[in-house]
């Protein structure tokens, strides 16, 4: 191996030799952090910041991580950006070939979720996983649906979902909000709890950014907001002593 070449952590070391076990890239390159999703009265709401990190470097600060699939489904991802792009192209091709039938039907949220799970489980079974966690949600036949899939092919459904650090920091806040209102949040309340969660994540997760997007799925369809600035408060830092200050 060329001693001058610096090997990045995600590049496979050396060349595959015949007879050797197959090697795959086993760590992500550009990554997105937590995404959040919650059900509310009129449908579902999703939130994610707009950061694509390269290791610990905040490299891409305009990374959209909430995407519409078809007319009433949102796909939110965390993890490797290029693996997500592959997934998006695969789904686009699928939706396109479904449109070609012209049978007045289109894939619903549950079908899209199931398809994503199939791909994720197949890839992990090849020991070459797509390095993502997904929150897939939408309205199908008038009913809201939201599910989680990750790189192991794990799936679960819930009224509030989060990936990554958000599982630990945001999920308790969202569950509390749902419990307090017995699962019947207004749009304002849903937005409020998502923004509070994003703020907590911005304070405590080093791979996060104070620029976010909110996506909504209602009976009307999907709307995804433009990247918006998230306000935060750092004044308390002045009074903190120790930690090298």
């Amino acid at each position: 191996m060329d001693p001058i070449t610096y090997k990045l952590p995600h590049t496979p070391q050396g060349i595959q030799k015949p007879g050797e076990p197959v090697k795959h890239i086993s760590s992500p390159a550009v990554t997105g952090s937590s995404v959040l999703g919650i059900k509310y009265k009129d449908g579902l709401m999703f939130a994610a910041d707009c950061l694509g990190s390269y290791g610990s470097m905040l490299k891409f600060k305009n990374q959209h991580r909430l995407h519409a699939i078809g007319k009433s489904t949102v796909l939110a991802f965390s993890g490797d950006v290029s693996d997500f792009q592959y997934m998006q192209e695969t789904l686009d091709e699928l939706m396109n070939s479904e449109r070609n039938w012209e049978d007045d039907q289109s894939l619903g949220t549950k079908s899209i979720y199931s398809y994503i799970h199939a791909i994720m489980y197949q890839r992990r079974s090849k020991v070459d996983p797509l390095w993502n966690s997904y929150v897939v949600g939408g309205i199908e036949k008038g009913k809201p649906f939201m599910g989680y899939v990750d790189l192991y092919g794990t799936t679960y459904e819930a009224d509030s979902l989060a990936t990554g650090f958000g599982k630990h920091l945001a999920q308790p806040l969202m569950r509390k909000a749902l419990e307090d209102k017995e699962g019947d949040l207004t749009e304002e309340e849903a937005r409020d709890v998502l923004l509070r969660s994003l703020r907590v994540l911005f304070y405590r997760d080093t791979r996060s950014l104070n620029l976010y997007q909110i996506a909504k799925v209602t009976g009307e369809g999907v709307t995804i907001s433009d990247p918006t600035h998230l306000d935060s408060e750092w004044e308390f830092g002045r009074n903190i002593r120790g930690y090298g200050f």
Binding site: E89, E93, N96, S97, R99, N100, E102, D104
Partner: protein, 262 residues
């Protein structure tokens, strides 16, 4: 035909002594003996239309479509053998999909047409295959605007502002040439097209029930290939009937009834 008996019309891999390829000519004849298809490239849009005799009253509505999506923004209208047309459609979709996965952009219409033309032409080179008995009119939108092309059974393809194939070819062509295609709006053009198709049908098939399909790619469809709303087509049909066409009367109602466009 002069060459009958000379053996030159058996294979498309051999020219006749006059330099013709009879198998390709027969395929063209076959393709032109079905319905009529029209393509119009107009101001801010491209429109495809097709009419054919309804084969049977027992046919399920919307079966045997002759207009289809190739990609989001490209449509195809075919006349000729329906099974051959299916094959052509599948190849067109495959090429469009391949282009997408290679270059990560929507395929330009001309690219799909060229690849499809190549495939159809390849079927005129060998004695082991039969040329396609299909004329395809392809319309679409890309960064360079709207496009309209027609591929013949020989694999030859040209870009058009207006084109027509099938039984009513001659009459429709004269009428197309009279329309100011560059300035006519899509909705008005659909109106004209429905009337031309109806007239072409009446001229060759009299009062036989028909099957008509119209689709377009316009600003209003956001550059997507979509079917034209039924009410626009119905308006044109009603106008056509009221304008006092020679075929009005008993047959007109029946034809209306058997219309089957989604």
């Amino acid at each position: 035909m002069t060459s009958v008996g000379t053996g030159y019309d058996i294979s498309s891999s051999t020219y006749s002594t006059e330099g013709r390829i009879y198998q390709v000519e027969y395929a063209t004849q076959a393709a032109n003996s079905f319905g009529t298809s029209i393509g119009m490239k107009v101001n801010n849009g491209v429109i495809l239309g097709s009419v054919s005799r309804k084969i049977s009253k027992l046919l399920k509505p919307a079966s045997n479509k002759c207009i289809s999506h190739v990609d989001k923004h490209i449509g195809i209208a075919t006349t000729g053998w329906t099974a051959d047309a299916r094959e052509i459609l599948n190849i067109a979709r495959r090429e469009a999909e391949n282009y997408r996965s290679s270059y990560k952009i929507p395929p330009p219409t001309t690219q799909v047409v060229q690849r499809l033309g190549f495939y159809i032409h390849a079927h005129t080179l060998y004695s082991s295959v039969r040329p396609f008995g299909v004329n395809s009119i392809i319309g679409g939108k890309d960064d360079n605007g709207y496009h309209l092309h027609m591929i013949e059974p020989s694999g030859e393809h040209w870009g058009y502002r207006g084109c027509v194939v099938g039984k009513g070819q001659k009459e429709v062509k004269t009428e197309l040439e009279r329309i100011d295609l560059d300035n006519i709006d899509p909705t008005l053009a659909v109106n004209r097209m429905v009337k031309m198709l109806l007239k072409a049908h009446r001229d060759s098939e009299k009062e036989e029930p028909y099957h008509m399909e119209i689709s377009w790619v316009t600003e209003e469809t956001n550059g997507y290939h979509e079917r034209v709303p039924q009410n626009i087509i119905d308006d044109a049909i009603n106008q056509f009937e009221n304008e006092g066409h020679e075929g009005e009367g008993e047959g007109a109602d029946e034809a209306q009834e058997t219309m089957e466009v989604e």
